[in-house]
């Protein structure tokens, strides 16, 4: 490997190792935005202790998640990981159609409760539920 190629590789590699964790700390302080700790080297952090409860309802009846998705996705929902919440919601919309609502409540360390979704919006159409 030439010194030029090596230095390019080193620059990209080291920049990623500074930028990706830094991105975590610089992101908006919106509720739940810090629940995704991937690539930030936050081993054993307080965020890891967060437990969320996701309750989906379809036409007013609760959705039994274990019958719809693999339980491993359920574990990631319990961590409130935003991308997974979005993907599961889209998946359930595809499978079941409207009206689908989600009530997502997380409990942070120190017993602080954070409600990320209140179940007032149809996830498939984006319309409010009266």
């Amino acid at each position: 490997m030439s010194p030029r190629a090596r230095n390019t590789f080193l620059a990209i590699f080291l920049t990623s190792q500074i930028a990706l964790p830094l991105r975590y700390y610089l992101r908006a302080e919106a509720p739940g935005s810090t629940y995704d700790e991937r690539f930030a080297w936050r081993m054993f952090s307080p965020v890891r202790m967060i437990r969320c409860k996701a309750v989906y309802e379809h036409d007013g009846a609760p959705v039994e998640l274990s019958e719809e998705i693999h339980s491993a996705w359920g574990t990631l929902l319990q961590r409130g990981r935003p991308h997974v919440v979005d993907a599961v919601s889209r998946h359930l919309c595809r499978e079941k159609g409207p009206t689908l609502t989600l009530e997502l409540t997380c409990r942070e360390l120190g017993d602080k409760r954070v409600q990320l979704e209140a179940g007032h919006i149809d996830l498939c159409t984006g319309k409010g539920i009266p």
Binding site: R38, F44, P46, V88
Partner: protein, 477 residues
């Protein structure tokens, strides 16, 4: 030469240290790849996936369990082969690509250390494992320059630094997080007794421990860049990772990976002693056999692997044999005889892992559990049939198989597995109940009554068993 270039190019490492590190790290990696086999069924289940790069989700394929199973086994093979010195030049980039693909394809793998392993593997692709040396020494003390190993040390510093930064949080520094995360009773009791001995409050002691961990991580981050502090850095880092294992955090093989990485800064005396074993590079005595040895090894390897009950075994055996064959002309390690021997050894290691671990059983168990819950009874039945064949002592596997056959109204087929479950676990009332229901459906009164009676011995208020027992009471011999 600029300071930048000097920094990267001045780093040297001995042949012995590289060999010992390679052996230990890749051995653990092979084990870790095997450990992931049981998780393969979750990939693609129900058609749902979220990759680690969600913006690419629409472009990336949804992973499939059979391909993931094949990839994990192949990665295990490659890692063991690299550990034994059978290949690095092409096997390592292939392993890195596979590891990266299987990790980034889905957030189902959320182990942070699996991301670290990807980075380590990427760096390892640039390590001069088998570079020709001007002054080779028998004890492996000859040094070679490697900017990649320097980068590896920097990466470890980066890891500890950010991990410490994550802990600069009131919830961590107060000790609240640590005291909640640690669930092992003996640690809690020890902390309590230490607090009493020191006449301080327990919360303060947890806070002290939390601060000590943070400061320790910062010290280790710095120590990896200061050669004269390698020994205390190693002792501090190892004690941290051993501690993590003692408090039973569920973090897979992370601690073991880190311990193997510490070989890069371990005292030379330890490295020399370990290198003395020279198990890292098996040597064949006597004359060379050459191409016939390779052909025999490939056939023997396929025969060995055929004993492992992989789903799509033919695909996996073809993959491994194909990779062994493809690597051969590009291999830079040892003679053809040595590589042939290593291929057979690695296949034996995989067979050994199958017999000594529960990964293959759990692969089918988890597949069966998930498909059963999602209503795919055919796949679930196939999976539990495999569970019972792999582990004929596992009562729950027979029960689930019998239960699935019952649900499909295959009552005659359900009898044998349920009877086996009752023999293996006679104190579990649910197994007797399902058997009673099967016999009831078949109109076999005496067996139905006997099974229902056993349920009522174990769980006297079980209503279904009461009904079956009363229906067949006259059948009581």
């Amino acid at each position: 030469m600029s300071a930048w270039n000097r920094y990267w190019e001045s780093f040297t490492i001995s042949t012995a240290r590289l060999s010992v590190f390679r052996f230990c790290f890749f051995l653990i990696l092979g084990w870790d790849c095997w450990d992931q086999i049981s998780h393969a069924p979750r990939y693609g289940a129900g058609g749902l996936n979220v990759s680690h790069l969600p913006m690419l989700d629409d472009l990336l394929p949804t992973p499939e369990r059979l391909w993931m199973l094949g990839a994990f086994v192949l990665m295990s093979y490659l890692a063991f082969r690299i550990a034994l010195g059978g290949a690095t030049r092409y096997a390592l980039p292939l392993l890195t690509a596979l590891w990266g693909a299987t990790y980034f394809i889905s957030q189902l793998d959320s182990y942070q250390h699996h991301y670290l392993i990807f980075l380590v593997l990427l760096i390892c692709c640039f390590v001069p494992w088998d570079a020709p040396r001007e002054d080779p020494k028998e004890d492996g003390s000859d040094e070679r320059g490697s900017w990649a190993v320097r980068l590896l040390t920097v990466q470890i510093s980066v890891l500890y630094f950010w991990t410490a930064v994550a802990k600069m949080d009131p919830l961590w520094l107060s000790g609240q997080t640590l005291s909640t995360q640690i669930k092992v009773p003996w640690v809690k009791e020890w902390m309590l007794s230490a607090a009493q001995t020191l006449d301080t409050d327990i919360a303060g002691l947890w806070a002290l421990a939390a601060v000590a961990v943070t400061v320790g991580e910062l010290a280790v981050a710095a120590g990896w860049q200061l050669r004269r502090f390698y020994l205390p850095t190693m002792l501090l880092g190892l004690s941290f990772h051993i501690g993590v294992e003692l408090v039973e955090f569920k973090i897979g093989l992370f601690s073991y990976f880190m311990m193997s990485i510490y070989l890069l800064i371990a005292p030379s005396s330890i490295i020399r002693a370990l290198y003395g074993f020279r198990a890292f590079a098996p040597r064949l005595p006597g004359g060379a056999v050459g191409t016939p040895a390779l052909a025999i090894a490939l056939v023997a390897g396929a025969a060995i692997l055929s004993r492992v009950p992989f789903e799509s075994a033919a695909l996996i055996i073809t993959l491994i044999t194909g990779v062994a064959l493809a690597l051969e002309p590009r291999s830079d390690a040892g003679t053809r005889d040595q590589r042939a021997l290593i291929h057979v050894l690695v296949c034996l290691m995989i067979l050994g892992l199958h017999t000594q671990t529960e990964q293959m059983r759990d692969y089918f168990r988890f597949l069966g559990g998930d498909t059963r819950r999602r209503g795919d009874l055919i796949t679930a039945t196939m999976a539990y049939r495999n569970v019972t064949e792999i582990d004929p002592t596992y009562a729950s596997g027979f029960y689930r198989l019998g239960d699935l056959l019952y649900r499909q109204k295959k009552y005659e087929d359900a009898v044998a597995p349920l009877e086996q479950a009752r023999v293996l676990d006679p104190d579990e009332w649910q197994m007797h109940l399902r058997a009673a229901q099967v016999y009831d459906a078949l109109g076999r009164g005496p067996e139905a009554y006997a099974a229902a009676s056993r349920v009522l011995q174990l769980k006297p208020d079980q209503s279904t068993a009461k009904k079956i027992a009363s229906r067949h009471r006259t059948s009581d011999p």
